[in-house]
């Protein structure tokens, strides 16, 4: 077990302090409402959807890749379940499986294209982003004649994916917690996690060390496809409808959350705790502003300043932590 001292010196402490700082800021300016269950639900619900996507996107980034296609994966999977179980009235489970299957398939295609073509994943997933958006729009119009389709999920589906606990907290929150545990386990406690870190650190050396880099890459893209599809699917059930134009903001926001959480854009470094804290920080800043009563015209300015402040704090502490981390018995070495 690590000592308290070494825990305090962990790099994630920086992210934690950044998050606490914005939390304090909004507790002061947002008042009691922000701290109430309803207020917490407001940013936790946003964080949970963003977080489910940010986790695999973070793993990908640690491994040195990006996935932009999540942005059209979300509407694609929403429309899939809505068309199958809404428009065609097939059982909801068929829609759920189809939309999740679509996510896995798109992820697989992304992964195979990246490893086969050696084109940077930014470009490959950009192409699939456009292609998938086009397919979704075109097929939706052909199949359902419309760009937005209604869906009535049964009570079980609602309970599992699209309900509010205590009338406030989305069930996706629990899915997020599950995802955190799984991804946390993978990154910190499994061999696979070590491979991801190594690939991001030095892809050539990682391959030379015998890591099946191709398989890892494909698996990572499939997981980000799956998670994006999951979010799209559960949004369709929660909001009883699906639209063709939805979810593009997740592309950017997931990258932002991950980078705020201290993952290196160039790969090789990052932690699940950091990604979670980054997601929370970004969600708090984005939603907290609604509790402050500040004129909405200045919202972006405040968001910008807070983001910078949070990351600055984060970085200061991280670098302190990294310098001091290997506390050996100093001169006695």
């Amino acid at each position: 077990m690590p000592s308290i001292g070494s825990l305090v010196r962990r790099p994630e402490v920086g992210s934690l302090i950044g998050m606490i700082a914005v939390l304090i800021f909004f507790s002061i300016f947002g008042g009691a409402n922000f701290l109430s269950a309803g207020g917490a639900a407001s940013w936790l619900n946003v964080a949970s959807e963003l977080g489910i996507i940010a986790l695999p996107v973070g793993l990908l980034m640690i491994a040195g890749h990006l996935d932009l296609s999540v942005g059209s994966m979300i509407p694609a999977s929403s429309m899939t379940i809505a068309i199958i179980s809404g428009h065609y009235d097939l059982p909801i489970i068929v829609g759920i499986l189809a939309s999740l299957g679509l996510g896995l398939a798109v992820g697989f295609i992304n992964g195979v294209l990246v490893i086969r073509t050696k084109v940077p994943s930014f470009v490959v997933t950009l192409a699939t982003l456009f292609a998938l958006a086009g397919l979704t729009l075109g097929l939706s119009v052909i199949l359902s004649g419309s760009t937005s389709v209604a869906l009535k999920g049964g009570p079980t589906a609602k309970l599992l994916f699209g309900d509010y606990l205590g009338g406030k907290f989305q069930v996706t929150l629990f899915w997020w917690i599950a995802a955190i545990l799984i991804v946390g386990f993978i990154l910190n406690f499994s061999r696979f996690g070590n491979w991801i870190l190594a690939m991001g650190g030095d892809a050539v050396s990682a391959r030379n060390a015998g890591i099946p880099t191709d398989r890892v890459t494909i698996a990572l893209f499939m997981s980000s496809g799956l998670c994006a599809a999951f979010v799209g699917m559960s949004q369709a059930i929660l909001y009883n409808s699906a639209q063709v134009a939805a979810g593009q903001s997740f592309i950017f926001n997931s990258i932002i959350a991950v980078v705020i959480g201290g993952v290196l854009l160039t790969g090789g470094y990052g932690s699940v705790v950091g990604i979670v804290l980054g997601t929370l920080t970004f969600s708090i800043v984005n939603q907290g502003i609604f509790y402050t009563g500040f004129d909405a015209n200045w919202a972006s300015l405040i968001i910008g300043v807070l983001l910078l402040a949070a990351v600055l704090m984060n970085n200061t502490f991280r670098s302190m932590a990294l310098t001091y981390a290997p506390r050996t018995k100093s001169r006695a070495r």
């Binding site: 406690f189 061999r191 070590n194 870190l197 650190g201 050396s205 030379n208 060390a209 015998g210 890591i211």
Partner: protein
Amino acid sequence: MTTPLLRLTGINKSFGPIDVLHDISLEVNRGEVLCLLGDNGAGKSTLIRILSGVHKPTSGTMEMDGKAVAFDSPRDASDHGIATVHQFGGTFPLMSIGRSFFVGAEPTRRWGPLTIYDRKRANEIAVTEMRQLGITRIDDGDRLVGGLSGGERQALAIARAVHFGASVLILDEPTAALGVKEAAHVLRIVLQARRKGIAVIFITHNVVHALTVGDHFAVLIRGAKAADFRKGEKSREAITDLMAGGEQMAELEAEIESFTATHDQHA
């Protein structure tokens, strides 16, 4: 003699129009150290990369234990028992020493129903194996590799290969960044490996090191095998000339000599 553990026949390798290796044939035996010598750019590392599955030869065949093999990936080669320390890289600055040591072959333990990475054991083994190489200052396997000195990092890579080297251990200039003590430890480790019956391929630019451990010498000059001889068959001077790409070193050494001489007059 028995069949060699590893036999290369007519290996060629070109990158586009550049022919780097030309018709190399070699044999490596169990319990022997093959010293691969040659000037900078002679093609030693390229040959090593072929043996370890990083590159595929343009033409030529490889046999292990008399059976033809072709490695699709480094993993393939290591599954055949070949462990390699490449000239550069092999460690990951932002990873811990323990994780870097076991990359791709992590030890695991049961944790309830789950199989998890055994951090403690990995760290312990990594630290112990580095101590074997004379690196006694590192006692915490959680330290980041990025904070190690050049030699410490090199030792980490070597320790890893030694630990995993099942039947062939390939070391590409392992002693380059090492201090005299650590280098001596590496030589000791190489000899220990040889005693265990492992075949070792050892690349070095240091004549003394080569002569200390080598049983068998192969010299590459401009991508072709220029000489292939066993211990004691050539003089140290002849070997030095071969390592210099076949040029006479005497002249250069004389020039250096003369500098030293002039200077001593100054002093």
